[in-house]
């Protein structure tokens, strides 16, 4: 039983790191510009298909394709900001929710027409790690490692670089940042790009572990919401911790209950936190 629980927890934590990194993207965008990006799931899907396309048609090793996916995701987000978000950034929330959702529909619609709804797989195996009686998939370990590295990189970026400081300033008070000479619109666009980049990299990492379809992003998106709310909207690092907590829960619960109950508990927790403590565990808004 202990072995099973440990194995489950480890598996869950590894996945949780990836979920956490994905949620960081959502969280960053929310924190900086109060926009909830409803195309988050679609961005993850684009990361998955990007990796698939590069692997299948160009023969590029998935891990080497990572920088390409990241840059692609960032540029897409940057562009998406100007098209869909810029005009409605000061409008009531419904507008930005709907505009990002519209982009989501466009991506899914185009994606289903181009790639169809059939499942895809990146057949890349790097063996497993044996820790005593517990066996962990190699792809899962590497993916979790990359996720943690990216989270650390984001932390360093936000706190130690000049651009990161600008982003935090705009998040804090946009008007004041403008007054201090920071081009807030450009900063917002860049932040949006970073947010979508994290989502697409997370998607890519997931594609190395599991098969996926054009709709897969949509099934990971609610998890990102849960994590953001758990960790606290407005604090990107909180998202990572929220992700690890969710991963641990997903790993621990099946040891005691049928696995089917995990989503019920996840979403019940989600609603409970929203009602009781909307700022989450580490949130600032």
């Amino acid at each position: 039983m202990v072995v099973q629980l440990t194995a489950s927890l480890l598996d869950g934590l590894l996945l949780g790191a990836i979920y956490g990194m994905a949620a960081m993207g959502l969280n960053l965008i929310w924190g900086v510009m109060s926009v909830i990006n409803l195309s988050h799931g679609a961005m993850m899907t684009l990361g998955m298909f990007g990796a698939y396309a590069l692997f299948t048609y160009a023969g590029i090793n998935p891990y080497l394709a990572l920088p390409l996916i990241a840059i692609g995701g960032c540029l897409f987000g940057f562009g998406m900001y100007w098209i869909a978000v810029h005009r409605v950034i000061n409008a009531p929330h419904l507008a930005s929710l709907l505009s990002t959702f519209a982009v989501n529909m466009v991506i899914i619609g185009a994606g289903t027409t181009l790639f169809t709804a059939s499942p895809r797989n990146i057949d890349y195996s790097i063996g497993s790690l044996h820790i005593g009686p517990i066996i962990l998939q190699g792809t899962r370990l590497v993916a979790a490692g990359i996720a943690v590295l990216m989270a650390a990189a984001l932390f360093v970026f936000l706190n130690r670089t000049f651009l990161g400081k600008k982003i935090r300033a705009v998040a804090n008070n946009r008007a004041a940042a403008e007054l201090m000479g920071i081009p807030s619109t450009k900063v917002l666009a860049i932040s949006f790009g970073i947010g979508t980049m994290l989502a697409s990299v997370a998607g890519f990492l997931i594609s190395t572990i599991f098969p996926f379809t054009i709709y897969s992003g949509g099934s990971y998106e609610p998890k990102s919401f849960v994590i953001c709310v758990l960790g606290g909207l407005g604090n990107p690092m909180g998202a990572l911790i929220g992700g690890l907590i969710l991963g641990a829960l997903e790993g621990a619960i099946p040891a005691f209950l049928p696995v089917g109950w995990v989503p019920v508990l996840e979403f019940a927790l989600f609603v409970a936190i929203l009602v009781v403590r909307p700022t989450g565990l580490f949130g600032s808004k």
Binding site: D11, T116, A117, P119, Q137, F210, F212, E250, V259
Partner: protein, 433 residues
């Protein structure tokens, strides 16, 4: 932007007009009929179905459709069927992509019946989708032959016009337990991990009961959501020293499950998964596929000697091509070995053909009467339908065989029939690893 309100106003007007036109356009229909002066009349009969060309069933469904299309091609090129009144009929398929999605199925079958005037229907692949289509067929009093659908419960709903080709789900894994007991008297515990759809749930519920009756301890009995990709929570729960892992669902999740079982180093002696192993594509898993057993509705290698020998005593009549003829024709057209999914599609249409010939008419009730009386032997195996009101249309003549992936002398992966003993082409590899 000054002109846009005018455009928008016209757009609204146009929209309303379009809407009215489109609705009324649905009323005018043309029934397909080629008229020739006097006798004999030639007619094209539309067979309607949906195909999962995309979505998670695309692998199995494509093969099922292949079988169907092969039949249509053969029947038409041999001159079609002649009815009792001299009419010559040929067949045409009319199908849409259901994307492996249930609500599309019901909408599309309604369209096939009311708009495309399909006279006979074949089900989509998979019990869940077939169940949905059966309801529609029955509502509009159209005959439907289900291929790719093994669920027993579909036939307990009071249907009259739904006929099943596959061996029912309740008999899928019972043979696996029989085989395991024969191979290893000491094997006594098993786990059942299954997809939570109609088919897999029914298979494993029946297997659970049967296994317990045979003295097995089922230490884990859990379902996963359709579309699940992460099997680690389930694999982690498999107790150490488990003799047999059984279950799975359909091709996509079955292959993922097999792959993750391998990656996590599960050392069960007997692994039997549904639907996926009999598909030739399963071999793409490489080493992860070795030793995996799968129940199959039909195999090119299976020798139906046992059934053939009982033929004489049971009054079954032979119809259609034999196994090698079918395999050759399928391979010729599609450049791959047929799996039971392809065979099932062909068999469904073949059965319909026999019933229409016997009835000498296209009238649904007359064809239905013939199906009820049917006692047939075809390349696919024996076909006979349950005609009791409680389980009308359930397949009661057909039996399963079991295959296993093994490495041949050159190290290449091949599929061997390992059960029942009378039909096997090789001995089972036990333990699997």
């Amino acid at each position: 932007m000054f002109c846009t309100p005018v455009i928008r106003k016209n757009c609204l007007f146009l929209l309303v007009i379009c809407w009215v036109c489109l609705i009324t356009a649905g009323c005018t229909q043309k029934v397909e009929q080629s008229k020739t002066g006097g006798q004999p009349v030639e007619r094209t009969v539309i067979i309607g179905f949906t195909a999962s060309q995309t979505g998670k069933f695309n692998v199995e469904s494509t093969r099922q459709i292949n079988g169907l299309n092969l039949w249509i091609e053969q029947v038409n090129s041999s001159g079609g069927i002649r009815l009792g009144d001299g009419t010559k009929i040929k067949f045409a398929a009319r199908f849409y992509d259901d994307e492996s999605n249930k609500d599309r199925v019901q909408e599309l079958y309604t369209k096939l019946i009311s708009q495309d005037k399909a006279e006979f229907l074949i089900s989509p692949y998979s019990s869940g989708l077939a169940d949905a289509s059966a309801m529609i067929a029955e509502q509009y009093s159209k005959l439907i032959i289900t291929a790719g659908a093994a669920s027993d419960s579909t036939h307990s709903k009071g249907y009259n016009l739904v006929y099943q080709v596959y061996t029912p789900a309740s008999r899928y894994l019972t043979g696996a337990f029989n085989m395991l007991s024969k191979l290893d008297e000491k094997a006594h515990n098993a786990v059942l991990i299954y997809e939570k759809d109609k088919f897999s749930t029914e298979v494993c519920a029946a297997a659970n009961k049967y296994g317990a009756e045979k003295g097995f301890k089922i230490s884990l009995f859990e379902g996963y959501d359709s579309g699940a990709t992460d099997f680690a929570p389930f694999i982690n729960k498999i107790p150490k020293g488990t003799d047999a892992v059984m279950g799975g669902g359909h091709f996509a999740d079955g292959t993922t499950f097999a792959k993750q079982l391998f990656e996590k180093g599960v050392k069960a002696k007997f692994i039997s998964l549904l639907v996926a192993p009999p598909e030739p594509k399963f071999a793409e898993l490489g080493n992860a596929a070795v030793g995996i057993i799968g129940p199959s509705q039909w195999e090119p290698l299976a020798k139906y000697s046992s059934e053939l020998s009982h033929l004489a005593g049971q009054g079954a009549e032979w119809f259609g091509p034999n196994i090698s003829e079918f395999v050759a024709a399928y391979k010729n057209k599609y450049q791959e070995e047929p799996s039971y999914h392809g065979a099932g599609g062909y068999a469904a249409a073949l059965i319909l053909q026999k019933a229409i010939i016997a009835a000498g008419s296209l009238d649904t009730q007359k064809v239905k009467a013939e199906l009820d009386k049917l006692n047939l032997m075809i390349f696919f195996g024996r076909i006979q339908f349950d005609t009791t009101p409680q389980m009308h249309g359930l397949q009661k003549g057909h039996e399963m065989v079991y295959i296993q992936w093994q490495k041949d002398a050159q190290g290449k992966l091949v599929k061997q029939v390992v059960w029942p003993e009378e039909a096997k082409s090789a001995n089972a590899l036990y333990p699997a690893h």
